[in-house]
Structure formats: structure tokens, C-alpha cells
């Protein structure tokens, strides 16, 4: 989403997600929730992580992106890489490079069991939390004043500015929301895959970027579809073909998709106006 509005590859997004997971880890310790798995303790951890990541997002935007808004895009790209490296190495220094074990803040219960397939409380949780957040987000973007302003900025920053919209505030806000979502993702992933380490954000960062590109940059359902395609093609290749060539084949798909549809699935193809 941040991507769509700022038309900017935010490689640091994956690292915000990493920080989110670590904040969750320390929040759980701080509030003494290590041994009381329950929905409420999960909620506390989730919200504190989202809150701190939102703040981090605000800082990143303020320090590194705002001054560069008018600079060439490749400059912002490099700055994003710089921030990403910075967060990674800081995390290695502060949290230590060894993987941490994310505390169990929610019990894992098999809710339904069909033969070998089980529906775990974690899956329900991930699904419901993502669903709630998505609904909230859509509401925010489509129904509120801020959402309208946001979409306006996404269409054309200059025009929005001329219309008297506080573009800086809106971009900040977008960034903050994106970061908060990344923080939530960090906690969710930490809960389900209880191993967190300072470099866990790199690969998801790249994959999220690829997904957004396949879907068509700046397109919301496109990004979701792109994510599904990336994930499914990897899983399918791993399960039925060859798990060692998994990434290669996933990327080959990606290249073929882009050759057939040069602007992704839902991207609008704008032939340059002459």
C-alpha cells in the first residue's frame, strides 16, 4: 500500500516487520505474559508492537524519505536499502544475532480435525486478525476523509498539494499505517513460527516487492493476488516438482508473467502520452 501511494520500493518494510516481531518478544516479557497464553495477552502484544512500529515508520519517513521526495527514485531506493541494512545491523547488535524464541502467547489448539488435515487455532487467528485489519484498512481508505485524501495523493501528489491537502501529513500517515501493519505481521508470524532473528525481514521484503509488482504496482487486490501467486507457485513447485529448484522456478514464472503482461495483472498500462 505504501508502495502504491509513494511509488517507492520500500525495502525497509521487511525490516520493520522484523522489528515488530522483536517488539512483540520484548513486550511479552515486559508485561510478564510469558506463561499466560490467552487472547488478551496476544492482543496486548499485538497492539504494543503495532504502536511501536508505527512510531518507527513515522521516524523513517521523517528522517529518510521526506527530504528525498523530489529526488530521483533510484536515490530513494538506495536510501531504503541503507535503512534496511541499518535496521538489520542494529538489531544484530541490540538483540544479538542468535535466533530468539517467540513466547507462546496463545495456546495452540486443534479446533477441527479431518483425518490428517487439522484446523489449528493459529490459522484461525492469523486469518481473523488479517481479515479484521484488512477490513479496517479498506474502511479507512474508502470511507473516511483521510482515505480520500490518501487516494488523491496516490493519483497525483502535485495536484493534491494544489488542492490544499496536507500531503506531507498524509504520506506520513500512510507510512505509519504501513509500518503498523508490518508490526502486526511480525507478531503474527512470530506466534505461528516461533523463531525470530534479525535477518528474518530480508526475504519477505523481496517477496513482498515481487508480489506487488506482479499484481500491478499500487493496486490493492493486485497485491493480494500477486502474493497468492508467488506463494502458491513456490509451494506447488516444492510439493510436486523439485524443492531445490523452487525459487528458480518461482522467479521464472514471475519473468514469464511480466513478459506477457508488462504491467502486472491489474496494473494500468499507460502508454506514454505524446
Amino acid at each position: 500500500m505504501v508502495f502504491g501511494i509513494l511509488k517507492l520500493i520500500n525495502f525497509a518494510h521487511g525490516d520493520v516487520y522484523m522489528i515488530g516481531a522483536f517488539v512483540g518478544y520484548y513486550a511479552a516479557r515486559f508485561f510478564g505474559l510469558l506463561h499466560e497464553p490467552s487472547i488478551s495477552s496476544f492482543g496486548i502484544v499485538l497492539i504494543s508492537s503495532m504502536f511501536i512500529c508505527a512510531f518507527l515508520g513515522f521516524l523513517i519517513e521523517r528522517i529518510a524519505y521526506r527530504p528525498l521526495r523530489s529526488a530521483p527514485r533510484i536515490t530513494s531506493l538506495i536510501t531504503a536499502i541503507g535503512i534496511s541494512l541499518f535496521l538489520e545491523y542494529c538489531a544484530q547488535l541490540i538483540f544479538g544475532p542468535d535466533p530468539k524464541v517467540f513466547p507462546q502467547i496463545l495456546n495452540s489448539v486443534n479446533l477441527v480435525q479431518w483425518g490428517e488435515v487439522a484446523l489449528n487455532s493459529y490459522h484461525v487467528l492469523i486469518f481473523s486478525v488479517s481479515f479484521i485489519l484488512m477490513v479496517l484498512l479498506r474502511f479507512l481508505v474508502l470511507k473516511t476523509k483521510y482515505g480520500q485524501a490518501m487516494r488523491a495523493v496516490s493519483e497525483d501528489v502535485k495536484v493534491a498539494n494544489l488542492l490544499g491537502l496536507p500531503t506531507n501529513t498524509i504520506i506520513s500517515l500512510t507510512f505509519i499505517m504501513g509500518a503498523a501493519l508490518a508490526g502486526a505481521a511480525g507478531v503474527l508470524v512470530g506466534t505461528v513460527y516461533p523463531r525470530i532473528d534479525p535477518l528474518m525481514g530480508i526475504v519477505p521484503g523481496i517477496k513482498a516487492f515481487s508480489a506487488a509488482v506482479i499484481g500491478g504496482i499500487g493496486n490493492f487486490p493486485g497485491a493480494v493476488l500477486g502474493g497468492l501467486i508467488m506463494g502458491l507457485s513456490e509451494e506447488m513447485v516444492a510439493a510436486y516438482w523439485s524443492s531445490s529448484y523452487r525459487d528458480a522456478i518461482a522467479f521464472a514464472f514471475l519473468i514469464i508473467i511480466l513478459l506477457v503482461k508488462p504491467s502486472g495483472f491489474f496494473g494500468k498500462y499507460h502508454p506514454e502520452k505524446v
Binding site: 524464541v101 487439522a118 489449528n120 523463531r195 516444492a238 510439493a239 524443492s243 531445490s244
Partner: protein, 400 residues
């Protein structure tokens, strides 16, 4: 006029190319000068009251966790020795350089250690890929290098100045293969390896060769990449192959997650791996899912041996965590190096090399260590079973 001038330019071109070719001839001189520079550095050292030992380790980057536990353990061994008064009346000093977990940085770091810091010997690296990048430099400068945990047989084949503390893949892989086939009486095995990791690839290759040779069957081979989060697709494929045992030679950082997901998918057969499993983190990450797993290791921290116990205690006191296998190997590397320095005629590289080569029956945490003529340790491996969140000693397998 114009034509004349171009002829001139072409002549200059030819001239420059000639110089280029000529200068290539000069490169031969290179070796002699590095020899002389080292002579002077050694004199420098004799007068000092410290002995400088270098270490190149991955203190940052994706494999930082292994580098740091190795560094901690080496420092611990040096500290203990220095408390006893050092070696030959001199204090030991460790200079550790980071390599960002990259082979090319390792090569730079070891060059700096040898030529700038004038160390007498080098410890490291953990990963074979980085040791292989370092070894030719140690060899050509005639400085002994002791790799702590590189298991690729290639490492020590690169020269007679290269030693190692850990056992090699062709030993460790077959150990578990024999155990699975002979002791557990299982014939159908699936392999799940880390495609990015040379250690994992090496172990699975030698495991496979031995297991097939014994008469067993590898019914499925799947791979993952270190750092992945979700392994369900591969595990589903393994499940449908219905193996009796799954060989998972990876590092504990991934193994814990994999075991968890395997149990969630309902795979009930035992898993097994190598010394990469050895870390208290494995139980923390994997929880109950690790129960019943087997792995080959250098030692068992649970062993009654007071030497092992005191190492575990001191390491925990100093760094706040239980040492993993890499720490144990780092500690033993420190001990071997100290012993060699004690027995060495001088601090010249060749003398330390000779002393290292004579290493025999040194008691370390990872067993009684003797170097063979290929500069690899001859030591036994233990098989460990995980029971009640603890490592339980099963059996010792001697090198054959």
C-alpha cells in the same frame, strides 16, 4: 598529416600493450618479497611478551550466531590459560576480525591478520566455504590455520598448514547412517537438506552413500533454504513417501521449526541430524516436537565428565547461555592451539605447524583429539537422543 598521427597513436597502442605483457613477466618476483617481510615480523614478536593469535569469524551477517559463540569459547580458553600464566611466560592475545559471513571478506581479513597484525597462527572459520577461501592465503604465507568447525574434507586438503578440530562429513554422515540401519533397523529414509548450506549438502551426500551401500533405500529427497519459515510443502511430500526415518542435516535455527511443522502435519517417524542440532535453542524453538530425535555429535553436555561440566559451567557464567557444539569446538581449538604453542620450538609458522601436526591425545570437550596425517582429528562420535527436552547419550561410534 592526419594519417601520420594515427599511425603514431597505433604505435603508442602497441607500445602500451608491450609494456602490459612485459609487466606480467614481473609478477614472479612476488613470492620472495613476502618471505622477507615475514622474517622481520617474527623478530618483532620474539621480543614481545604477548603471543598474537588471529581469528576470522562471522560476527555479523546471516551466520553471526555461529561466529559469536565460537569467538566466546576461544576467548574463554585463552583467558583460562592466561590466568594460569600464559604460554612460555607470555600472555595470549586474540585478535578477532569479522567477515560479514562472506568468503571474500574472510580472505581479506586473514591477509590483514597475517601481514598487518603479524599473528603467529589463525583460528577459524566455522563454515567450510569461508575456510576454503582463507586456506590458500594461510598456506602461501606459511602460517598455520586451525579451522574450528568446517566439515568439508576439502578444507585440510588445501595445504599442510591447514588443520581442523571438527570431524569431517565423510565420517559424520555415515555414522548416523550406520546407526539408523544397524541399531534402529530402518530401511526407508527420506532426506531433507538445506540447499544453500555446504555442510548440509555434504552430510546428506555421505549419509546417502553409506546408507545405500548398507542396503537401505532413500525414498525421498527434499530441500529447503536456511531462513525459510514454512516447510509444509516439502514435508507433505515427505509424508506421502512414508519413510521410516527422516535425515535432516541442518542447523538448529531451522531444525526446530521444521520439526514443529512436521509434527503438525502428523509425521510421527523420528528425525535425525548432525552436530548442527546441538543447541539449547533447539528445544526452545521446537518444543515437544524434538522428542525422539537422534543426532550425531562430538560430545554430550550431559556427560558426567568433570572437564565437560566445568566448561559448560564457566561458559554459562561468562556469557549467560549454554554452549552449543560450535562453542565446544571453538574451545577445543583454543586448547589445541595453546598446546601446540607450548610444544613448538619457536613461534615461526613452520614450527607451530609441526607442533600442531603432532597433536595427540589432547583432552577436549569434544573428545580425545589426535590429528591424523591428513591433519584431521581422529575422534569418536556420539549418538544422542532427545528425551524429555534433554540430550540423552545413546552410544559412541569410533572412527573406522
Amino acid at each position: 598529416m592526419r594519417r601520420n598521427m594515427t599511425v603514431a597513436t597505433i604505435l603508442t597502442n602497441v607500445f602500451v600493450s608491450l609494456i602490459f605483457v612485459f609487466s606480467l613477466g614481473c609478477t614472479k618476483k612476488q613470492q620472495q618479497s613476502s618471505e622477507t617481510s615475514k622474517k622481520s615480523s617474527q623478530q618483532n614478536l620474539e621480543t614481545n611478551d604477548t603471543i598474537l593469535i588471529g581469528a576470522v569469524l562471522s560476527l555479523t551477517g546471516p551466520e553471526a550466531t555461529f561466529g559469536i559463540s565460537t569467538k566466546n569459547a576461544i576467548e574463554l580458553s585463552f583467558e583460562q590459560k592466561n590466568k594460569e600464566g600464559g604460554v612460555l611466560g607470555k600472555k595470549l592475545k586474540l585478535i578477532t576480525l569479522d567477515n560479514q559471513s562472506k568468503p571474500e571478506e574472510s580472505a581479506i581479513a586473514i591477509t590483514k591478520l597475517i601481514t598487518q597484525d603479524n599473528v603467529v597462527a589463525v583460528l577459524g572459520e566455522v563454515a567450510s566455504s569461508r575456510s576454503i577461501a582463507m586456506a590458500p592465503i594461510a598456506q602461501s604465507n606459511k602460517i598455520p590455520m586451525l579451522s574450528t568447525a568446517s566439515t568439508n574434507p576439502k578444507v585440510t586438503e588445501l595445504g599442510d598448514f591447514i588443520f581442523r578440530t571438527s570431524f569431517i562429513d565423510p565420517f559424520q554422515g555415515p555414522v548416523l547412517a550406520r546407526f539408523v540401519f544397524e541399531n534402529l533397523k530402518m530401511k526407508k529414509v527420506a532426506i531433507f537438506k538445506d540447499v544453500k548450506n555446504d555442510y548440509s549438502i555434504g552430510l546428506s551426500q555421505f549419509f546417502k552413500e553409506k546408507f545405500v551401500e548398507l542396503g537401505g533405500q532413500i525414498i525421498s529427497e527434499q530441500s529447503y533454504s536456511a531462513g525459510d519459515m514454512d516447510f509444509k510443502a516439502q514435508l507433505t511430500a515427505i509424508r506421502s513417501a512414508k519413510p521410516e526415518f527422516v535425515y535432516l542435516p541442518g542447523y538448529y535455527t531451522d531444525v526446530g521449526l521444521i520439526l514443529r511443522q512436521a509434527r503438525e502435519l502428523g509425521i510421527k517417524v523420528p528425525f535425525g541430524g548432525g552436530d548442527g542440532w546441538d543447541s539449547p535453542k533447539l528445544f526452545e524453538i521446537g518444543g515437544k516436537a524434538t522428542e525422539g530425535g537422534y543426532f550425531s555429535n562430538h560430545y554430550s553436555p550431559e556427560a558426567e565428565d568433570p572437564f565437560v561440566q566445568s566448561f559448560v559451567k564457566e561458559y554459562e557464567a561468562k556469557y549467560g547461555t549454554v554452549p552449543d557444539a560450535l562453542a565446544a569446538l571453538g574451545y577445543d581449538s583454543g586448547i589445541i592451539m595453546i598446546e601446540a604453542l607450548k610444544n613448538s620450538k619457536s613461534l615461526a609458522g613452520t614450527d607451530i605447524r609441526d607442533a600442531l601436526a603432532k597433536t595427540s591425545k589432547i583432552k577436549g570437550v569434544t573428545g580425545i583429539i589426535t590429528f591424523n596425517s591428513q591433519r584431521n582429528p581422529i575422534k569418536s562420535a556420539v549418538i544422542i537422543k532427545i528425551e524429555d527436552g534433554k540430550q540423552k547419550y545413546v552410544t559412541t561410534i569410533d572412527p573406522s
